[in-house]
Every structure is written in structure tokens, then in C-alpha cells.
Symmetry: C2
Subunit: 145 residues, 2 copies
């Protein structure tokens, strides 16, 4: 597996070990990870810290020029919120580990100029499908359903 997607998967597993929803993300600038994050709904009672948002937050305040050279990796297809954050900062490329368990507005963000590459990695898919199987209510809360 691509080492950056592996780093996102490591984040997802760290979240699971904390008792959280296992979705992870990393932000890569010029070939180097500058932010890592995972879903914090349970750990922090957070309604906004999906993995990608936690990752953007942990990367800190960046310039527009920096965001526009970044690649965002996420173990799961970014939802409307996380896709919207990527549009706000004009992230040019997103690598998605799994869009089988959930598919965000990929076509819309492609139409706005983001290159969305879907890997559908077996480990990413299995981690999320196992979680959903045993934690359906939490999962549905996380996606507003």
C-alpha cells in the first residue's frame, strides 16, 4: 500500500484503539506529511472533527499556496463537510481508501476541479465494514442519518 494511505490507515486504527470511529486522514505537502487526523466524535464529543477536519486542524494555518500543493488522503470517501473543506482550501487531489462503505459527493467535487482517486483498498474497506456492522447507530450519527 502507498505509504501515505498506510499512514491514514494507521490513524484510523489509532482512533479505533481509543474507542472511536475508525476513519483516518493525512495531509501531504510536497511529499511530506504535514497533518494527521482521525475521527474524534466519541473521544471529544465532536460534531465537526471527522478525520479530514481533524487532519486540517492539526496541520495548522496554512497559506492558500500551500493548500494548493497538497494531497489529502482519507481511508473513507469524504462526506459533504470534509469535501467542502477541501473545496474551501482548493486541495487539488484526494486519495480515497474506500468508497464502498460510504460515498461522498465525489462527482460534485470533481466538477469543481478536485482530482479524486479511489483506491478501494481491502484493509480500509474491511476496517470500516466491521465497525459499521457492530456500531450502526454511531455510524449513522456520524453521517447525519
Amino acid at each position: 500500500m502507498d505509504s501515505f494511505l498506510q499512514a491514514a490507515l494507521d490513524e484510523a486504527r489509532a482512533g479505533l484503539a481509543e474507542g472511536g470511529i475508525p476513519i483516518g486522514s493525512v495531509l501531504v505537502l510536497d511529499g511530506r506529511i504535514i497533518g494527521r487526523g482521525h475521527n474524534r466524535r466519541i473521544q471529544q464529543g465532536s460534531a465537526v472533527l471527522h478525520a479530514e477536519m481533524d487532519c486540517f486542524e492539526n496541520a495548522g494555518r496554512l497559506s492558500a499556496a500551500q493548500y494548493q500543493r497538497c494531497i489529502l488522503y482519507s481511508t473513507l470517501s469524504p462526506c459533504d463537510m470534509c469535501s467542502g473543506a477541501s473545496l474551501l482550501y482548493k486541495i487539488p487531489k484526494i486519495i480515497v481508501g474506500d468508497n464502498v462503505n460510504f460515498t461522498g459527493p465525489e462527482d460534485y467535487i470533481r466538477s469543481r476541479g478536485i482530482d479524486v482517486v479511489v483506491i478501494n483498498d481491502a484493509e480500509c474497506i474491511a476496517l470500516m465494514s466491521d465497525f459499521i456492522q457492530y456500531n450502526a447507530a454511531l455510524w449513522h450519527e456520524d453521517i447525519g442519518e
Copy 2:
């Protein structure tokens, strides 16, 4: 002025008093404010806590049924990120104090079912235009430009 938009404006002014970007928001459920927020970019070094995101975060974890009865008030037209969060949680209605200084993807979120009502209140517009005039770099950072 509508008392809920006034509460959002009070949040924006509280942010300005802290040295922050003056954008405020409140979330109203069944006629009662359940979350208040303002932009925290400067105060917390935050890349994700726009006013509406701070407001969602402060409202805490809600059920899908609760979100779907909410009205979101914001002094400024929600950007792609904050619009995306509203789509994620299926917020049915957003009241916008000002879309003169900035206009988010209002047509897109209307096409996804959100009723977006633009007030263009003179106080909301003046607060933001004054800030932008003297803090152009900060403002551009906040909208990824």
C-alpha cells in the same frame, strides 16, 4: 433585527473583541438557541473553526432528527466547508446576514434542498466590510485565497 440574527451578530462582535475575524453564528432548534459560535482562526490558530463550525461544535452531538429541525443563522454567507457541514446534517434552513462581502455556494445547497434566506442586514455588512478593509490578508487566508 430578528433576535436570532442579532445573537449571531453578537457572536461576531465577541470574536472581534477577542482580536478575531468577526463572523458569528447560532443554531436554533424548535425556537431555542442550542449552539453559538464565532470564527476562531486567530484565537485558536484554527483552520476549521469558522463561525458555523464552531457553532455546530458547541451545540454538541445531536441526532439526525434534531438537526433536521434546526435553523442555522450566520452573519456571512456560509463557505464551501460550512455549507458542506449543513448538507451533512441536513439542516433545512439557513438565514444569511450578508452575502455582499462573500457568497458561498448558495445555489448548490439550494439544489440539495436547503432553504437559504439572505437578509443582507446593514450591520452585518458593515462589520465585515470594515474588517476586510483593514485585514485583507487575514480575510483571504480564511477563505483559502
